[in-house]
Symmetry: C2
Subunit: 356 residues, 2 copies
């Protein structure tokens, strides 16, 4: 068991040591640990090795100059200068929030970035400003369009955070596939199979092997099969890809660069790096923020009172599981599975950073 | 078989006869027939009876005064004055487009409206302005949150239209459930069962009965079961509801008024009428519209070249099936199933409008 603070300090030191600024290292560590605290270990300490290996391969820029390359009153395109995703994403969301202060809403499309951890982190940045926050990102291609076997899309998550008054905020943060890619990695590290319906093999046959992506398999879209709406998951994932890439000038779909160093850099490019899309929506551009937040309390209380199905204790509000995980992990500490611990010890040794 | 023009004229006459203006009748008829042409009969002639019955019950306003009640440079809240949904929706999307011309993007939340037909119609209004269009709406509650049996949400569709250059536009328009509510009605009219995975009975048991909603059953969210991401469908549907209702001041979730007269008006209200949310995003608020549309061509051509799974002929782009349906129905005419024809003949008789 590790304390939140211990992992935060350790992670910050890693990125400081590879050349990130103090501020950027803090941002990166904060997003990684937020993933652990929110119960999304798939985007937490597990991923540090991937970032480290990308740095060793000189595939990410630890001293980026992030800048606005195009703008209108409510929009901007940001070039992330191949930054570690967290750094480009946090800056982009700050710009969206600034735009919203003046124009009512702010929308930023970001190109030339990389994997940025959990999308919810950036959406939630809007909350303290009495704004709703939105964050989309594309990701390296592992998902096949409905009725296809070609890996064309990432797990392309959607995050939306909406403030309430007495109730905790509404925070939805979900991959547009039945399961996040990182969850396959966690199952693989644990040596477990996954349920059918998440992945198919390279010929399109059902599979329960979490490592199937290494042998040409692909992930399925939300909905599963045609009869149950796989084309809707494909629509949703496409929308995320288009807003993240075609609007920003990043690579789209199959051309999004790998977020792991063991996959080669793609020769063909359709833009720059990975793309994200951020939105900040000022509540009082629509109505009194106070009344809005009271109404959100009412929304949350209404849905929380839904009658559970047989065998279920209660009905959750998006954000509930993550908030409860945070309370638990802050109190009890965070456990890390042995395979990930070994990676972290190896990194600590190479960088001469203490890690127990 | 009916021609597009015949059904359009007939539908326009119905709404003219019940008191809508010439312009509003044309709008309403255009959206109804667009649904038929796009192959979404579930939102076409089938629904005219519902609207007619609501009018007979004095539950919709055929002479609305639609107005902006709150605004910022990029946003507005529109009060639909209990209009027929098409009328409030078209006006709201026009306002979003006007806002986008100045601010780069325009976002309109609409309250005090009603069922508006197909969401894609309004998203597509943006295309001719070199804008992407977005349309969300809540709907009367038929869907249970993940792991619940309470009918708390509508099928809450998402529509996004993005322009291309040589390629036809990208148009995604989908309910955030495995199936649209109207498709259950079509199966019911045809006397067919539906596949398992769309609905559950009032106790939460699996069902294949398309009429189960009449006896306390509910529709399931996209994803189906917990293991396959039903909570993600719940997140998505919640986002649509919150943007359509809490932002606009419309009723949310379980309090959205029924779009059929055979269900009683709810006593408890949390806002005004049904709510929608519209977005217009000027392409050149992000980059040159020409370059963007060329990149969309490339996106579309790339995804169209995805390798089909065994037994599939090709991989589709969102908007392909609807465009192909339109070409077919414009050429061959539109067929209407007997049960719906009977309803239309009854209405024609009552309103003294010719219908063959």
């Amino acid at each position: 068991m590790y304390s939140y603070q211990y992992l935060l300090d350790f992670t910050r030191r890693i990125f400081r040591r590879i050349g990130c600024s103090e501020e950027d290292s803090t941002t990166i560590a904060d997003v990684f640990i937020a993933a652990e605290l929110r119960g999304h270990a798939s985007h937490g300490m597990l991923r540090i090795k991937d970032y480290y290996e990308l740095w060793k391969a000189e595939r990410i820029n630890v001293n980026p100059v992030i800048r606005i390359v195009h703008e209108s009153p409510s929009t901007a395109v940001v070039d992330g200068d191949n930054a570690i995703g967290m750094v480009a994403a946090k800056r982009s969301m700050e710009i969206a929030i600034e735009k919203a202060k003046k124009a009512g809403t702010g929308w930023v499309a970001t190109r030339n970035s990389n994997h940025f951890g959990i999308a919810g982190y950036y959406a939630m940045m809007a909350l303290e400003h009495d704004m709703a926050g939105i964050c989309l990102t594309n990701a390296n291609p592992l998902v096949a369009p409905a009725l296809s076997i070609s890996r064309m899309m990432g797990t392309n998550p959607v995050a939306v955070a909406v403030p309430a008054l007495r109730q905790p905020p509404f925070v939805a943060d979900f991959a547009t596939t039945p399961i996040a890619r990182g969850k396959l990695a966690v199952s693989e590290k644990k040596g477990e199979n996954v349920p059918y319906g998440y992945v198919q093999d390279k010929s399109g046959n059902p599979s329960n092997d979490p490592s199937i992506l290494r042998t040409g398999g692909s992930m399925l879209t939300l909905g599963g099969d045609k009869l149950h709406g796989s084309h809707k998951g494909y629509c949703l994932s496409s929308i995320v890809d288009i807003f993240s890439s075609v609007f920003s000038g990043a690579n789209f779909g199959p051309f999004v660069p790998p977020s792991v160093a063991y996959l080669p850099v793609l020769e063909q490019k359709t833009g720059k790096g990975t793309g994200h899309f951020f939105g900040a929506v000022r509540i009082d551009a629509f109505q009194s923020a106070r009344e809005f937040k009271e109404k959100m309390d009412e929304w949350i209380e209404t849905f929380r009172s839904a009658k559970p199905a047989d065998g279920q204790e209660r009905v959750l509000i998006p954000g509930d599981p993550e908030r409860e995980a945070t309370e638990k992990f802050m109190k009890e500490g965070i456990s890390i599975v042995p395979a990930i611990l070994k990676d972290l010890h190896d990194i600590a040794l190479e960088l001469e950073i203490p890690f127990e």
